[in-house]
Amino acid sequence: MLKKQGGENLAGKIKRYQLKLPSSTNHLELIREFVTNIARGVGFDDEKISQIELAVDEACTNVVKHAYKGDDKQPLDVLVQTDSKKFKIIISDKGKGFSPNKIKTPDMKKYLSEMRVGGLGIYLMQTLMDEVDFKMEPGKKNRVQLVKYIPQ
């Protein structure tokens, strides 16, 4: 939808796109469309766009389910920031936060053999994106920052 425009992402040129919504899973599709449309405009191929789409969905789903424990009226912000090198998405909430260091990377072999439900979101984000970073200030501002490098 957002056609690539010549010179739109010259070095140093930062573009920002922001979406603020109530924290409902109802809005996940809208968030995905928002992010994929911008990613398409930057020139990512379909596979990379799908990776970004899924990583962002997982991060936002976690905010709704975990940060706000299903309360669908809390603030969920998605900020997309692009420059010539990085496609950065910052998802922020004012919910309970968590200690990402305490979350263990799932052992997929064990995971599958035990047929567990859930626990894949953060693993997916880390597998799909080039950088994943959490900054927590519970009740104030918790942030997940996802970065995908733009093919040069």
Binding site: S24, T25, N26, L28, E29, R32, D46, E47, S50, E53, L54, D57, E58, T61, V64, K65, M108, K109, L112, M115, R116, V117, G118, L120, G121, L124, T127, L128
Partner: protein, 114 residues
């Protein structure tokens, strides 16, 4: 725009679910309900056709994980068919093909059941 829909086809012992649209944390409960019904009705041979599914997240994957054990305990299975490469990539990334049989067509899945 797409939303999520499930069409259900019953053929003798086999229940086939056609998924359409997107399967995420918002719509996963709908699929859960359908699979729960299969189990309540003792229909343990389930085929899920992904032909028209445009998107799946881990919430959608989790639904299958939540039922596969009980279904297999009862001599059944959930077999997956007609995945686009986009959907297959997500399953593959997580190693799910080791746990689920994935077929190109429904016919192949039916044959495996019978």
């Amino acid at each position: 725009m797409s939303g999520f829909e499930i069409a259900l086809l019953e053929n003798k012992e086999i229940v086939t679910l056609h998924l359409k649209g997107f399967l995420d944390a918002h719509t996963a409960p709908d699929l859960e309900t359908e699979l729960q019904k299969c189990i309540s009705n003792k229909r343990y041979k389930v085929i899920v056709n992904f032909q028209e599914l445009g998107y799946i997240s881990s919430a959608g994957l989790g639904v299958f994980m939540g039922f596969i054990e009980e279904i297999r305990k009862n001599g059944g299975d959930i077999k997956l068919t007609n995945m686009s490469s986009k959907i297959f990539r997500v399953f593959d990334l997580l190693g799910f093909p080791a746990l689920y049989e994935i077929f190109k067509t429904e016919e192949e899945a039916v044959q495996k059941f019978t």
